[in-house]
Amino acid sequence: MKIHEYQAKDLFRDYGIPVPPQRLATTPEEVEAAAREFGGTVAVKAQVHVGGRGKAGGIKVVADAAAARDAGEKILGMDIKGITVKKVAVVESDAEIVEEAYLGIILDRAVKGISFICSADGGVDIEEVAAKTPERILTFHTTSDAFPEEQAREVAGRLFSKAETAAAVLDVMRGLFKLFREKDCSLAEINPLVLNNRDEVVALDGKINFDENALYRQADILELRDMDEEDINEIEAKEKGLSFVQLDGDIGCMVNGAGLAMATMDMINFFGGEPANFLDVGGSSNPDKVVHAFKLLTSNPKVKAILVNIFGGITRCDDIARGILESYAQIDIALPIVIRLGGTNAEEGMAMLNDTPLITASSFESAVKKAIAAAKGEAV
């Protein structure tokens, strides 16, 4: 789960990491009022989950309240990568930036632990730094819940040219690590971490992602979820026990199992079609889930055909066929539906579907080809 920059900075502050004063605003008037309150220079920053806000014109640094209001008018309502900006953060920006560094903590699958990624090159895309000048990236990791004091000390003094900043950087590292562990983050990043002309080390921008599996014990984090930024279908699907991701194509997919669902998308693509979604209905033949899945697929106006690809394991295909018939009877679907059942009791299951308008297929590949043809309006 993602949160906004202003929310990340609130959390930073809670964990003792210095951030500049900020106000959230949803109207140009609020932007102006916040700028007046701070006096002096402020940054007006679009709050959207997508990256590249700056390049899209979503961040403006202005000298006074009137200019802040103008900036607010321009940024609020702006479209950034398909997302409409509904709120901005107004950030006090009086201090001058002397140097910019990068500090990130990630869940690192390679070391099966938590890695610190640090660089004296901040304020830029860290992946680019890693690719072009890997020697400019300093990393260390821990696999326990204790802060890696010794390694952190070694790196802390190297982010800024002034060695006196080491203690402040170390404090930031400690705070970020504590936040990462206590809030079940999968990524906590400060970019840039700056040294300003008042000799302060401050987190100017930040990004935090959380482990979805741990949200059950992070009630306060769950409250930070911005439904405007989420795909409502994906959230609803999750509540029903389905795993759903919207894509751009015209063939709706319903599959059991995440791996098979990905393979189904790939196969559609391989044979020249476009999948409309990823959808894993899980291992059960529960008609409620199947009904909801059909509703999800048919609510997408782009969908021209539906492909149901089920491999029965412990769940038997005749049970699955029963679930599909039941849900099919409950909802009115005009779209062509291609269905393929494989595995345990597949033949029995397919036989049950013979006298229905469903288009049956005997193999994964033939099902994919039939669905592509059906989506093109060809007779199948």
Binding site: A258, L260, M267, I268, G313
Partner: protein, 293 residues
Amino acid sequence: MSILVDQQTRLIVQGITGRDGSFHTKQMLAYGTQVVGGVTPGKGGQTTEDGLPVFNSVAEAVAETQANATVIYVPARFAAAAIKEAADASVPLIVCITEGIPVLDMVEAYHHVQKQGCRLIGPNCPGAISPGKAKIGIMPGIIHIPGRMGVISRSGTLTYEIVHALTERGVGQSTCIGVGGDPIVGSSFRDLLPLFEQDPDTDAVVLIGEIGGDEEERTAEFIGSEMSKPVYAYIVGQTAPEGKRMGHAGAIVSGGAGTAASKIQAFSDVGVPVARTIDELADTAAKAHRPSA
């Protein structure tokens, strides 16, 4: 032979009285697995429908039954503790089926298991089966036939699909393992391929990878330098959009890393054929390894 699981496996089931645990205990018994007991805290002293003793702790179960493997079906919020308990009792093989364990809990459990010198498969996995011998987990035994092809995958139903395609073509399997779809799993492809390499009853391995992480890339390095047996690969997630978790918690392309293209390239570079479809994968494996009956 085969790897990990066979007739010598003496299995206990953690969460044996739960819905999934009791259902799959029956399935495993029916397949011929020696299930010797189970653990549910607070229900020690009871006997299951199948006549198996229930214990309060793994340590007690191991002492009473001489179990050498355990399978975990407990809910996500208790599963990491269950893994650690099994490791504390020095159970050599721990298979965790549970999906949805917080990843920081798994960091701790993973290193705990390593320290105790145990082997963990999963979490969020279907388990392991040596066809005709025994199975630990939730895979349908019926689609497998005994043979000499190892199968290793991050997925569940996709693995069944591929095993089914192999079986249809007369290619039997020595052992099939799902390592799990989470970012942190107990055993990786890289950890388990050496077992297939050393197993005299495995001739070749079918490997099914997916997007996310760099496990496939590191595995390719191992295959290139140390593996003499042929490996046939298939990678899913080529059409997955960046930054979206595709069902499996670990299946995510982020910052351009973990892409299917990078994994396919890594395998191709070390001479591992990467199939474009499941049928192509099964056909290639069958052509080279179908028993000349």
